[in-house]
Symmetry: C2
Subunit: 323 residues, 2 copies
Amino acid sequence: MRTTQDFQALIDKKIEGFCRKNGDSNILQPVNYILNLGGKRVRPLLTLMAADLFSDDIEDAVYPAIAIEIFHNFTLMHDDIMDNAPLRRGHATVHEKWNRDVAILSGDAMLIQAYQLIIKTRPECLGEVMHIFNKTALEVCEGQQLDMDFQSRSDVTIAEYVEMIRLKTSVLLGGAMKIGATIAGASESDSESIYNFAIDLGLSFQLWDDYLDAFGDSSKTGKQTGGDILADKKTFLMIRAQEKASSKERETLSQCAAGTINGQQKITTTLDLFKALGVDAELQSEVERYYNSALQYLDRIHVAEERKTHIRQLALALHHRQF
Amino acid sequence: MRTTQDFQALIDKKIEGFCRKNGDSNILQPVNYILNLGGKRVRPLLTLMAADLFSDDIEDAVYPAIAIEIFHNFTLMHDDIMDNAPLRRGHATVHEKWNRDVAILSGDAMLIQAYQLIIKTRPECLGEVMHIFNKTALEVCEGQQLDMDFQSRSDVTIAEYVEMIRLKTSVLLGGAMKIGATIAGASESDSESIYNFAIDLGLSFQLWDDYLDAFGDSSKTGKQTGGDILADKKTFLMIRAQEKASSKERETLSQCAAGTINGQQKITTTLDLFKALGVDAELQSEVERYYNSALQYLDRIHVAEERKTHIRQLALALHHRQF
């Protein structure tokens, strides 16, 4: 039986080969750069795990898995331009290290390269895999668009926020697993279940991210606690707090947003308010709800329980993470 | 027998349907906008003409043809950001009308949409069509990269310049025709010939563009004569002039580049120099050479001569154009 480490080794080897083939042309250098910033390769891992759930032969899923990782890094390269982000995983972003135009163009090339890998899919699955990939890719762009739209809006609802993180994060996890399942010959109903598992796991993951940013232990997360608060980000906590706040509490939140209350004081005041309003507990309960829903989808899949071990372990590790 | 107008009507109808389906979401509005700026749809026309060369049934080539037009407009949307272009076909560019981030993201969505159309290709051709499309798309990006690289170099050779315009312009014409031919069941050798025809026609077209910019009749071209000179663009004429110039003439060119000689004076001085050095005649001869080479490739294709009528007419019209 293959271990998660086997999957990871396979992914690393293929990405290494991909980068070697890219060489150091002006347009592909930044592609290799971003791929080697040390991401965790969760998405291709999910593709291989989903394939492994339904078949002993996961070889056919390796190129599509890599395609998804390339696609994911393409979105990071372009998102970093839009977010004016100076750093990605502790290193200069592509548009900082080179320039904006290089980041646009190398990103475009990267998206095309993802398709070059996707077409290595077995011909009899190619149509279906391309269909899932295209739909997913377009939804990820929509998610980024919503995220940008929300920055200039003050009336974003929780439903809208959840839809945004579903599109921006979850659908790619779902697409990654569904593609693996499809290649491994899963039934339509099992493919749908693994997709929904990944969607809900992704939502749980992303909402937990909101929680850790506000209440996590910075010695474990490696990030300043309250970073989202300082950046005035519309997270689950902030949206719900604004909905539940009394007029006096709303006034406090306005002072934080306007900078009258700022720095560490802004973080402390906001966190106290989150707790007073109970939105921290609400968030925790949503994290649990999506996590349990994900597990229910996993339960529904018609394969022997021991085949699900890897996926259960990964889900549990993501669920209990403090970083 | 179908006429060129029939092809154009078919293309217009499909693009109209595509735009209608896009609706007016924030991310797809700019897609519809750029598609309706009134391009001539040469590339999808070439796909249909190439299909028509080899088969009476061109229906299967329509979606891939539209995919190529969508891809082309995606490159325009992103190139316009990189070139800081305020106008496209007389209208505000997407990044001007909306903003940079919208132009990046809608362009990305557009590239994905091109693939959504490509996968409507008949399954038995899909792999080959995707292969041609991916290779072409990546080459177009490389062409744009070279074009940007050249802006900061002073030692660009004619061979490099021709390679750049081959990648930036010709390969998409070649890919458009080869995809049409492939779908229509052309032999490998005929597919190669139609590809090479389009490559050389494209080079001839693009070099003639350089000529018209310098020596064209602005009442016909609708552009200021000498626009490339004013913008210090490295065209065939400028590169060859710099290669052939005496040290005194080189000095004059330097004064033009430095702005010591500027405006209408800069244009007149440079054009006089082009003529004195005979680079205008050299360019005309290159335009003819590529045009004739294109026709030779067309001659080699094993179909009845009357099937080639549309393509010959289009080539001739492009060759003799004054605008």
